[in-house]
C-alpha cells in the first residue's frame, strides 16, 4: 500500500462549490454518459471486431453463397449489392443492441447506482446512453460503408451522408428500444436471449436481406409492422440512387413500401423511425425513473 499523507483542512487548497442543477447539469449528464460509452467501446477491441464480423459473414458468405441460386430474381444485379444496404443496417443494429446491453452490465456491476444517485435527471442518463449507442454504431456503420466498392457500389458524398444520418437514427432507435428492455431485465443471459429472439426476426422481416416484391400476404403485413423496415428501405433508396439500374431491376428490387396500396413517401418512412425512437426513448426514461 502506498503511504498516505495527512492534509489538514487549512492546507486544502480546494474549496468546491457545486453549482445548482438545471439544464446545464442535464447537458453535462448526457455528455459524460456519452463519453463513457465511447471510452468503453474503444477499450473493447474484441467487441469492435465481433460486431463487425456478423454483418460481413452475412454479406460475403451468405450473400456470396446464395448469389448462385438467386441470380434469376435480381435482374442481373449482384445479390451482395442488393444486400449491402441491409447489411449497413445490420451492422448498426448489433452494435446498438450491445450498447443497450451495457445497462444490464451497469446494473450487475453496480455502476448504474452511481448514475442513479447523481444530481442529474434520469432522462439525461438515458439520452446519454442512446447518443453513445448511436455514435459507436454509426462508427461501425462507416466501416461497413467503406466496403461499398467490393460489392459494386461506388462512393458518393451524398450517399455516405444520407446513409450515415439514417444509421445514426436507426442506432438511436435501437439503443432506445434496448435500454427500454434492459432497464427491466437484471440478468445478462436473459437480455441476450431476448435479443436473439427479437432482433433476428425483426432483421429478417425488415427486408434487409430480400426484396419486398411479391411477398406472401402475412409476411407483407409483418414487414409493415416492423419498425426496421422504415429504416432499411430509405438506406436502400440512398444506396441505389447511386447505382445505374435498369427500370426492371428497380421495380423488382426497390418496390418501396405501401400501406393499403398507398406508396409511403421516404419522408414518412423516416418519420416512422423518428416516432418509434421517441416513443421508445420516452418509455425507457419512464422505466428508468422507476429503476
Amino acid at each position: 500500500m502506498a503511504t498516505t499523507e495527512t492534509r489538514p483542512a487549512a492546507a486544502s487548497p480546494v474549496r468546491v462549490v457545486i453549482p445548482p442543477g438545471g439544464w446545464r447539469a442535464d447537458l453535462r449528464g448526457i455528455k459524460v454518459v456519452w463519453q463513457r460509452e465511447l471510452i468503453r467501446f474503444w477499450r473493447d477491441k474484441l467487441r469492435i471486431v465481433t460486431s463487425l464480423l456478423q454483418p460481413l459473414i452475412f454479406l460475403f458468405v451468405l450473400g456470396g453463397g446464395l448469389a448462385q441460386i438467386a441470380s434469376g430474381g435480381t435482374e442481373g444485379v449482384d445479390l451482395r449489392t442488393f444486400m449491402f444496404p441491409g447489411v449497413l443496417a445490420m451492422a448498426v443494429l448489433f452494435t446498438a443492441m450491445f450498447s443497450a446491453a451495457s445497462v444490464v452490465w451497469d446494473r450487475e456491476y453496480g455502476f448504474l447506482r452511481e448514475m442513479l444517485v447523481a444530481p442529474v435527471r434520469r432522462g439525461s442518463i438515458v439520452l446519454g446512453k442512446c447518443f453513445g449507442g448511436a455514435t459507436v454504431a454509426a462508427f461501425q456503420g462507416v466501416i461497413v460503408m467503406a466496403l461499398a466498392p467490393l460489392v459494386h457500389v461506388p462512393y458518393s458524398v451524398s450517399m455516405i451522408l444520407e446513409v450515415l444520418a439514417l444509421q445514426l437514427l436507426l442506432a438511436f432507435m435501437i439503443t432506445a428500444f434496448g435500454v427500454m428492455a434492459a432497464v427491466q431485465i437484471s440478468q445478462m443471459q436473459a437480455f441476450m436471449a431476448l435479443m436473439q429472439m427479437v432482433v433476428m426476426p425483426l432483421l429478417f422481416l425488415s427486408g434487409a436481406l430480400f426484396p419486398l416484391t411479391g411477398l406472401p400476404h402475412w409476411l407483407a403485413v409483418l414487414n409493415r409492422l416492423d419498425p426496421l423496415t422504415y429504416a432499411v428501405n430509405p438506406i436502400r433508396e440512398a444506396v441505389f440512387a447511386n447505382l445505374d439500374l435498369t427500370p426492371a431491376a428497380t421495380a423488382a428490387l426497390l418496390p418501396g413500401i405501401t400501406w393499403f396500396g398507398w406508396q409511403v413517401p421516404i419522408a414518412v418512412q423516416v418519420l416512422v423511425v423518428v416516432l418509434c425512437a421517441l416513443a421508445a426513448l420516452q418509455i425507457a426514461i419512464l422505466k428508468f425513473k422507476q429503476a
Binding site: 453535462r28 459524460v32 471510452i39 444530481p119
Partner: protein, 325 residues
C-alpha cells in the same frame, strides 16, 4: 442554514405489509460522526436509502444538509457523498476516469477537478495507481476508491453504508484510518451504518436500531455506562461447583462463555477480592471487562447481534415473523 446535518422526524417505510422502518427520529449535528448500528434487516439500509433520496419515505420527513429529501432531491444529492455496501465502480475505466465521470456528473467546476482529484486519491493512497483499470484493484482498493469518489465533490454529509463489510481485518482498520483522517481534514458529517460492534466505537454517537425502530441513541461511552455491569470471567477447574458457589454465596447467575464461568456484576474490580475470599472453589485466573457495545445491544434487545441476525436474517418478512414469536 441549520446546524443539523441530518434531521429525521417519524420516518416510515413500508414494503407491502412489512413496516421496515417504523417511525424514526434523529438529529445529527454538523461535523459529527454518527453510527447506525443494528443487525442485518433492522432497517439501516432502508433508512439510509431514504436519506440519500433513493427511496421515497411512506411517512415522516427528513432534512439532509438542510434540504428536504423528497422536495429538494437534487439539492440533497449535490450535498451528500455515498459509499455503498456493494461496489459501484466501472471496472473498465481507470480510477482517474471513474473520478472524472463523477466530477462531471456532479458538476464540480473544471478548474478545481485536478487538485481535488489528487487530494482525495492521495488521502486513500491510490494516487500512484490512478491510471490503472479499476478491475485490477483488490477489494480494499476498490472500497478506498469509492470513499475517495464519495468525497470528490466535497459533500457536507458522507454516507457510508457498511464501509468495511467483506474486507479483511487489516484493510478494515486502514479504512477506519482514512475515516479518522477525514474527520480531521474536512469539515464533514459522517453518517455510517455497521453491524460490527467494535466499529461503532469510532462514532461520536450511535443509534441502535432493531426491527425498524431506534431503541437507544447516545455516545458509545454513555451507552456502555447505561449497562452498568462489568463482565467477570473466572478460570476454574470445576465449573459446576463455581456456578453453584456463585449462586449460593453471591446470589449471581453465572453462565459459561468461551469455556469460562462468566458473571455480570457492578464494580467488577471491587468484586474480585471478595471472590477470592469467599468463593471457596479454587480459581486459576480472573478477568474483568468493561461492558462492550455487544453488551449494550444485548441489554436493549435481549439478544446478541449475531443471534438477532441468525434468527431474522436480512429478509424483513422473516424478521417480522421472528419478532412475533
Amino acid at each position: 442554514m441549520t446546524d443539523l446535518a441530518v434531521q429525521v422526524r417519524e420516518l416510515v417505510k413500508r414494503f407491502g405489509e412489512v413496516e421496515a422502518v417504523r417511525g424514526i427520529d434523529l438529529d445529527v449535528a454538523a461535523g459529527e460522526t454518527f453510527g447506525f448500528l443494528g443487525p442485518n434487516g433492522a432497517g439501516k439500509s432502508t433508512t439510509i436509502s431514504m436519506l440519500c433520496t433513493l427511496l421515497p419515505p411512506d411517512g415522516g420527513s427528513a432534512l439532509v444538509a438542510g434540504h428536504d429529501v423528497v422536495r429538494e432531491r437534487d439539492a440533497v444529492r449535490r450535498n451528500i457523498g455515498l459509499v455503498f455496501q456493494d461496489p459501484t465502480l466501472d471496472g473498465y475505466l481507470t480510477a482517474e476516469q471513474n473520478l472524472r465521470f463523477h466530477a462531471e456528473l456532479y458538476g464540480v467546476p473544471k478548474a478545481v477537478v485536478p487538485a481535488r482529484m489528487q487530494l482525495v486519491l492521495e488521502m486513500v493512497g491510490l494516487w500512484e495507481r490512478r491510471r490503472s483499470l479499476v478491475q485490477t484493484y483488490s477489494g480494499g482498493m476498490k472500497r478506498r476508491l469509492e470513499i475517495a469518489r464519495g468525497l470528490l465533490h466535497a459533500p457536507r454529509v458522507l454516507f457510508l453504508d457498511e464501509p468495511t463489510v467483506g474486507l479483511d481485518p487489516q484493510t478494515r482498520s486502514s479504512i477506519w484510518g482514512y475515516i479518522e483522517q477525514l474527520k480531521q481534514a474536512e469539515d464533514i458529517t459522517i453518517f455510517l451504518t455497521t453491524h460490527y460492534m467494535d466499529e461503532a466505537e469510532h462514532c461520536d454517537r450511535i443509534a441502535i436500531i432493531d426491527q425498524g425502530r431506534v431503541i437507544a441513541l447516545d455516545t458509545p461511552e454513555a451507552l456502555k455506562a447505561s449497562v452498568g455491569k462489568d463482565r467477570v470471567q473466572l478460570q476454574v477447574d470445576d465449573t459446576d461447583a463455581a456456578i453453584d458457589a456463585l449462586r449460593e454465596r453471591f446470589g449471581l447467575e453465572a453462565t459459561i462463555a468461551e469455556g469460562n464461568v462468566t458473571v455480570a456484576v457492578e464494580g467488577g474490580e471491587a468484586f474480585v477480592p471478595r471472590l477470592f475470599a469467599e468463593l471457596g472453589v479454587p480459581i486459576r485466573g480472573v478477568s474483568v471487562a468493561r461492558p462492550s457495545l455487544d453488551d449494550v445491544f444485548m441489554s436493549y434487545t435481549g439478544t446478541t447481534i449475531r443471534d438477532a441476525e441468525s434468527a431474522g436474517g436480512p429478509d424483513p418478512l422473516a424478521r417480522m415473523m421472528a419478532g412475533r414469536r
